[in-house]
C-alpha cells in the first residue's frame, strides 16, 4: 500500500504540471486518468471493518435531534417503521414465523450503517448530512436497538469496534439446495 500511495502522490504532482487531462495508455487508449482528488470525492465506500470511515464524531443526543427532524416521518419516532423500513427491535425473531429484520436484529456490520445513511438518507436529500451528523444518526439508531448507551458518541474507531448481534449468522450460498426429478409418467 505505501508503494501505491507514493505512486498516487507522484501522479498528482505530475497532473498539477499538466494543463491537459492525461490520456490513458491502455490497449485502446480510451479514457483519461482519474486524479486522486476526483476519486476521493466520489469514493464513499466503507467496508465492514470501517475502512473508509471519514474523520468526525457524533453522539446519541444530536442523533436523536436529526432523527426527529429528518428520519422519523418515514421510520417512526422510535424507528418502529412506517413508509420507511423498521430500524429497531426484532432481536430474537429471525427464526420465528414472523421475522423482524432491523439494524439491531439483522445487520451484520455497524460501519455499513454509516455507509448507507451517508449515501442514501434521508431519502429526500441524500448526501447532505455532515459526517458528524451521520455519526450522530448512526449512534442514535444503534441506541434505539439497545446497542449503545444514551451518552455515547461515535467516531471511525468506535463505530468499527461495535459487534452486531447477528454478525455470525450469515452463510455462503449452498445452492442448488432443492432437487426435483424430471418424472414423466405415474408421477
Amino acid at each position: 500500500m505505501p508503494m501505491r500511495e507514493l505512486r498516487i502522490a507522484g501522479f498528482a504532482v505530475f497532473l498539477l504540471a499538466c494543463a491537459e487531462p492525461v490520456q490513458a495508455q491502455g490497449p485502446y487508449g480510451i479514457g483519461r486518468a482519474a486524479t486522486p482528488a476526483e476519486i476521493a470525492g466520489w469514493n464513499i465506500d466503507i467496508d465492514r471493518n470501517g475502512n473508509g470511515l471519514p474523520p468526525g464524531i457524533g453522539g446519541v443526543g444530536r442523533g436523536r435531534e436529526i432523527f426527529d427532524q429528518q428520519c422519523a416521518v418515514c421510520h417512526g419516532a422510535k424507528g418502529e417503521g412506517g413508509i420507511g423500513d423498521r430500524l429497531a427491535g426484532g432481536q430474537g425473531t429471525l427464526a420465528t414465523p414472523k421475522p423482524v429484520r432491523t439494524v439491531g436484529s439483522y445487520w451484520p456490520y455497524a460501519p455499513t450503517l454509516f455507509d448507507y445513511i451517508r449515501r442514501a438518507m434521508p431519502q429526500n436529500a441524500p448526501q447532505t448530512l455532515s459526517n458528524d451528523d451521520v455519526y450522530a444518526v448512526s449512534a442514535y439508531v444503534l441506541n434505539l436497538n439497545g446497542l449503545l448507551p444514551s451518552d455515547a458518541t461515535l467516531n471511525a474507531k468506535t463505530l468499527s469496534a461495535i459487534k452486531m448481534p447477528n454478525r455470525s449468522m450469515f452463510v455462503d450460498d449452498p445452492r442448488p439446495d432443492v432437487k426435483n426429478t424430471a418424472c414423466m409418467t405415474g408421477c
Partner: protein, 429 residues
C-alpha cells in the same frame, strides 16, 4: 421538461392541419362523413358494418398521415397492455413495476414494458455530464465519458433480467403470470464487454471483486466477483436497438447475465476494483435469504432455472373446448434451457414441449405444446430443465428446504387451474 412533449404535440397538430388542408380538400366531404358515421352508429351495427360482406369503414377513408407519431405507440386497442404497477404501495420511490408477461409473445420484451425496480426513484441524467470512474486495484485509475464508452469495441447479446424476489414464498400468491413472475424481462443489450474496460485500466494482483455504484439517489452499491466481470458482464448503453430508457439506467448500466437483477447496477457511475466485497446495505441487510433456523445466505447471485405458462394463464379464459396451444417462457441463470416439460393432468404425466429457436444462454426461451382441451376441469403447468441438468422444483419442495421467510429466488413451478367454464386461475392460491 415539458418542451419535448409540446414539440411532439405541435408536430402532430401541424401534420393534421396539413392533411385537412391538402388531403381533405381533395377528398371533399368524405373525411367528415366517415367520422360522423362512426359516432352515429350503434355498437352492434357498427361491427356488422365492418364485417363480410360489408367493406370496413377504415378502408373508406385515408388513415393517419405520416408524422402523426414521431415516436410510434401501440394501437389504441392495446391500451390495456401496460406495466403491472401495484396501486396500494405506501411509497413509489423504492418500488417495482412488472412486465405483463401474459400479453406478450416471443422472447423480447418491448422497452416500454420492461420491468422496473428502483431504490430511490428514476434520475434524469444528461449523458454529456455523466462519467464512469474506474479505480481501486488497477494500474491506471480512469474516467470515461459516454463518448469514450461508445468508442470501445461493441457487442450485442440477448439476456433475461429478473428481480431476485419474483415472487415471494408467502400467500397470497398472484392471480396472473405478471403478478407471479412479472419482475422478469428479456432484451437485446448493446454495449462493451466489462473485461475490455477493466483491461484498459489494468487489473492488479489481488483484484477479486468489483464494487459497482449507481448515480441514483440511493447510490446503490453491489459487489461482483471478478470471475463474473471477466466472463460475460457488460457495460450497456442500448436496449433493443435504442438507447437505454431512464428506467433501465440511462445512459449506462451494468448487465450481469443470470444474476439477480439488482446487481446489474443502473445509472452506473463508478467501478472500484477491490480485494473484498464492500458489504453494502443491499448485500447484507436486504438481498440476503433468511433460513428457518435464523441464519441467512449471502451473495446468492444466480437465478435458477424456471418457467411459466403464459397462455393460457391466470386471468384468461378459454373460449370453448377444442384446440389450444399452450405457450410459455423458460430461463436459467446457469445457461441454456435444455428442455421444458408440460403437464395437463395436475402433474400426473408430462410431455416434452417444443422449444422455439434460438435457444440462447441466459435468455428467455419460448416453449409450446399443442393441446386439445376436452372441456373438463384441468391443471396445467410447466417444468424447466437447464443445461446443467437442474430441474425446476415445486413450491412444496422449495418451502421444505427454505421455509416461508426466504423471500428471494423463488423459482417454483406455478400450476394454473382451468375450470369447466374455461376460467384460468392460480392453482396454488
Amino acid at each position: 421538461m415539458t418542451e419535448p412533449a409540446d414539440l411532439n404535440k405541435d408536430i402532430a397538430t401541424t401534420s393534421r392541419r396539413r392533411f385537412l388542408r391538402e388531403g381533405g380538400a381533395l377528398l371533399g366531404g368524405a373525411v367528415i362523413a366517415g367520422g360522423l358515421a362512426g359516432s352515429e352508429a350503434s355498437g352492434a351495427s357498427e361491427i356488422a358494418n365492418n364485417l363480410p360482406p360489408n367493406v370496413p369503414e377504415w378502408m373508406k377513408t385515408p388513415g393517419d398521415p405520416m408524422g402523426a407519431q414521431p415516436y410510434g405507440a401501440p394501437s389504441p386497442f392495446e391500451k390495456g397492455v401496460i406495466k403491472n404497477i401495484p396501486n396500494n404501495l405506501s411509497q413509489y420511490l423504492s418500488a417495482s413495476g412488472r412486465t405483463p408477461l401474459q400479453d406478450l409473445d416471443g422472447i423480447i420484451t418491448p422497452n416500454g414494458l420492461f420491468y422496473e425496480r428502483h431504490h430511490a426513484g428514476v434520475p434524469t441524467i444528461d449523458p454529456a455530464q455523466h462519467r464512469l470512474m474506474l479505480h481501486g486495484l488497477v494500474d491506471m485509475p480512469l474516467i470515461f465519458t459516454m463518448d469514450d464508452i461508445r468508442r470501445f469495441p461493441s457487442q450485442s447479446r440477448i439476456y433475461f433480467l429478473e428481480c431476485s424476489g419474483n415472487p415471494g414464498y408467502k400467500k397470497p400468491y398472484g392471480k396472473t403470470a405478471s403478478d407471479l413472475v412479472g419482475l422478469l424481462s428479456c432484451a437485446e443489450w448493446t454495449g462493451v464487454s466489462l473485461k475490455l474496460v477493466l483491461r484498459e485500466a489494468g487489473l492488479q494482483a489481488g483484484a477479486k471483486w468489483v464494487v459497482a455504484e449507481g448515480a441514483d439517489a440511493a447510490a446503490l452499491t453491489r459487489s461482483i466477483p471478478i470471475e463474473k466481470c471477466l466472463e460475460d458482464a457488460m457495460l450497456v448503453y442500448s436496449q433493443n436497438g435504442e438507447r437505454l430508457r431512464p428506467q433501465q439506467g440511462y445512459p449506462l448500466r451494468l448487465l450481469l447475465p443470470g444474476f439477480e437483477g439488482n446487481m446489474s447496477v443502473k445509472w452506473l457511475r463508478r467501478l472500484r476494483v477491490a480485494a473484498e466485497p464492500t458489504y453494502s446495505r443491499e448485500e447484507t441487510s436486504k438481498y440476503t435469504d433468511l433460513m428457518p433456523d435464523g441464519s441467512a445466505r449471502e451473495f446468492t447471485f444466480y437465478m435458477e432455472a424456471k418457467s411459466i405458462i403464459t397462455r393460457p394463464s391466470g386471468g384468461q379464459r378459454l373460449s370453448a373446448p377444442g384446440f389450444h396451444e399452450i405457450s410459455g417462457i423458460a430461463w436459467s441463470g446457469h445457461g441454456k434451457i435444455s428442455r421444458v416439460d408440460v403437464s395437463v393432468d395436475d402433474g400426473k404425466s408430462w410431455r416434452q414441449a417444443q422449444l422455439q429457436e434460438p435457444v440462447l444462454t441466459r435468455a428467455l426461451t419460448r416453449f409450446r405444446l399443442p393441446w386439445h382441451w376436452d372441456g373438463q376441469p384441468a391443471v396445467i403447468q410447466s417444468r424447466a430443465t437447464d443445461e446443467t441438468g437442474y430441474v425446476q422444483p415445486t413450491l412444496v419442495e422449495l418451502l421444505g428446504v427454505r421455509g416461508e421467510n426466504y423471500f428471494y429466488h423463488n423459482n417454483a413451478i406455478w400450476p394454473w387451474r382451468i375450470a369447466a367454464d374455461g376460467e384460468v386461475t392460480n392453482a396454488n392460491a
